[in-house]
């Protein structure tokens, strides 16, 4: 068959309507949904959820060290606490 030329080519390609939709709607939408799936969902939202868990695990690992079993350490913490409470009482609550 003879290759269509000029206006005939536009008609043969049905006014390029499909190509237009492909470029304006389908591709951008696909790219956007890929971005949502691969970045927002996996990194941002799931990252926040798992991050909360990780922060709690990390801080509990650190706080665990306070419970050393040495009574001297506990007494020291108690004295520091009393001093802090005393200072709060003295300066902040008049």
């Amino acid at each position: 068959m003879e290759e269509a030329r000029g206006f005939g080519k536009i008609l043969a390609n049905k006014w390029y309507v499909d190509e237009f939709y492909e470029a304006v709607i389908v591709r951008p939408l696909n790219a956007f949904s890929k971005f949502l799936n691969e970045f927002i969902e996996k990194s941002v939202i799931d990252g926040i959820v798992n991050g909360v868990g990780r922060v709690i695990q990390y801080s509990s690992r650190q706080i665990r060290l306070l419970q050393s079993g040495q009574v001297g350490g506990y007494v020291l913490l108690m004295v520091i606490g009393i001093v802090i409470l005393f200072l709060v009482q003295l300066f902040l609550m008049k």
Binding site: L29, N30, F32, S33, K34, L36, N37, E38, I40, E41, I45, D46, V49, G53
Partner: protein, 490 residues
């Protein structure tokens, strides 16, 4: 007595089920228990709505002034019927699945049914909370014992998520309890507490409840547990979770949030609606990218639930009526979709859309049934979802509770188009085109599977053509809730 039996039969059946060792006996026993429950539920539907057998109110924890108050109003009837018909359907659909410790598996399934029934019939906040947890715990064990490879991680996430939500709700319940006049947990006292609570109180209490329910539904951005859990759970548990358990969240908003804290609901309605709409579009777009059938259905479910939650906040007659009927429709449709996904995975040991193709030539019955269920998921006219979604769109558009009604309607309508994109794309890639070496040996579905899918398709078409019985059933509930949600009456 009907609501009591609805709880007791699955509860007793479940407890007895732990002692059954033989796999076939366990299946038969659970099917028997669930069919009896279904018969009781149908009996309840046949009774007149003021019949005394539909309500029961006896002493429970008298020192706390919490009563064992259960009853079936229209919405309760509808959801109990969904739970009652859902379980036998699920048992028959997964009949050929072999579980290790089948007795325990089926026992836990029945226990979760008891919990679900309890949630839907409770008229007492403490009782509601009690059953809410009872429904959750068996599912946790179902997923963690019988799930896929990453089940421990997924169920841990699920448990932390939902339990956090439950605790927030408990704080809210206790706060309201202390502000009721007679220090009571009853629904009536909770619904009259609005006179005492300031708008400031209602506004933060709203979030305590809404987050708990939003996690369950789930609403963006509290949804990330869902695709993981649906993917890792055994098929029967996935069907329970998505078909019935997510309705607990919507039910909670309709019964325990919107009528109890109308001012809070009105103040935050736009924010909550915006979350719903965002989640709908977001989940639909992500569904387009999924290659795993289970994850596709999971994200599609998030989008459809978002629409239902949006319609609740619209506070209109038709929107609320649409939500009611859609609660049932969504449950039926998604159980149908999961059944198809399960049958495909069982036969080919894969859920990847890219590895399948040309199934329609080998399994025509499965293809026809799946296409109808999928079209119902897109809400095509003549299917049940069309009725529900049309009413909801109508309600959202005509809403006076928000000034953004047009924006919400347009955004929600986009999701219908997107749902056609991903569902039709999935049908095309899985069922049409050329078959490959994996799918060329496919066989069609067996009798039990045909029965289940045919039943679901019949319900889809029947409700799509003649939804009136469902409207008559829920009309009273809709009117009551709308009158309670009307903040202007304060």
């Amino acid at each position: 007595m009907v609501p009591l039996f609805l709880i007791l039969i699955p509860l007793a059946g479940g407890l007895a089920g732990f002692f059954i060792k033989n796999s076939n006996n366990a299946k038969l026993w659970s099917l028997l228990a669930s069919v009896i429950t279904l018969l009781v539920s149908v009996t309840g539907l046949l009774l007149n709505k003021d019949n005394t057998h539909l309500f029961l109110n006896v002493e429970w924890l008298s020192s706390l002034n919490s009563r064992f108050s259960v009853g079936l109003d229209g919405m309760g009837q509808l959801l109990c019927f969904l739970t009652a018909i859902g379980f036998p359907v699920i048992f028959i659909a997964t009949w050929r699945e072999d579980y290790k410790n089948a007795g325990n598996f089926h026992a836990l399934m029945l226990l979760s049914q008891a919990g679900l029934m309890g949630v839907f019939v409770s008229f007492d906040a403490l009782l509601f909370y009690f059953f809410w947890e009872l429904a959750l715990i068996p599912v946790y064990f179902l997923c963690s014992q019988w799930g896929g490879e990453k089940r421990i991680q997924a169920t841990f996430k699920f448990f932390i998520y939902t339990f956090l939500g439950s605790l927030m709700m408990l704080v809210g319940i206790i706060y309201i309890y202390f502000h009721t006049k007679e220090h009571s947990f009853s629904l009536a006292s909770f619904q009259s507490v609005r006179a005492v609570l300031s708008s400031h109180d209602q506004s933060w209490l709203f979030w305590l409840f809404f987050v708990a329910f939003a996690i369950k539904m789930p609403i963006f951005p509290f949804h990330t547990w869902q695709p993981d859990v649906y993917e890792q759970s055994p098929p029967a548990a996935t069907m329970v979770l998505s078909g019935i358990m997510v309705k607990m969240g919507l039910f909670g908003v309709i019964r325990w949030l919107a009528p109890v804290l109308p001012l809070g609901t009105w103040l935050w309605g736009d924010t909550a609606s915006a979350l719903c709409v965002t989640g709908m579009i977001y989940a639909s777009l992500i569904a387009m990218q999924q290659d795993d059938l289970k994850r596709l259905v999971a994200y599609s479910s998030i989008a459809h639930i978002g629409l239902m939650c949006l319609a609740i906040f619209a506070t209109t007659q038709s929107g609320m009526q649409g939500v009611m009927i859609q609660l049932f429709n969504h449950g039926i449709n998604i159980i149908g979709l999961w059944t198809v996904v399960y049958l495909i995975e069982r036969q080919f040991h894969t859920r990847k859309i890219s590895e399948l193709g040309g199934l329609a030539q080998r399994a025509p019955v499965l293809a026809i049934l799946l296409v109808i269920v999928s079209l119902a998921n897109i809400a095509l006219p003549l299917t049940n979802a069309f009725i529900g979604e049309f009413l909801m769109f109508n309600g959202i558009y005509s809403s006076v509770a928000t000034q953004y009604n047009v924006v919400f309607t347009v955004a929600a309508a986009v999701c219908i188009i997107l749902s056609a994109v991903y569902m039709l794309n999935m049908i095309q890639k899985v069922f049409y085109g050329d078959s490959n070496p994996l799918t060329s040996k496919a066989r069609d579905i067996r009798l039990n599977e045909k029965f289940v899918l045919a039943l679901i398709v019949m319900l889809i078409l029947a409700i799509g053509v003649y939804p009136k019985p469902f409207f008559d059933l829920t009309k009273d509930t809709v009117d009551t809730i709308l009158s309670k949600m009307n903040y202007k009456l304060l």
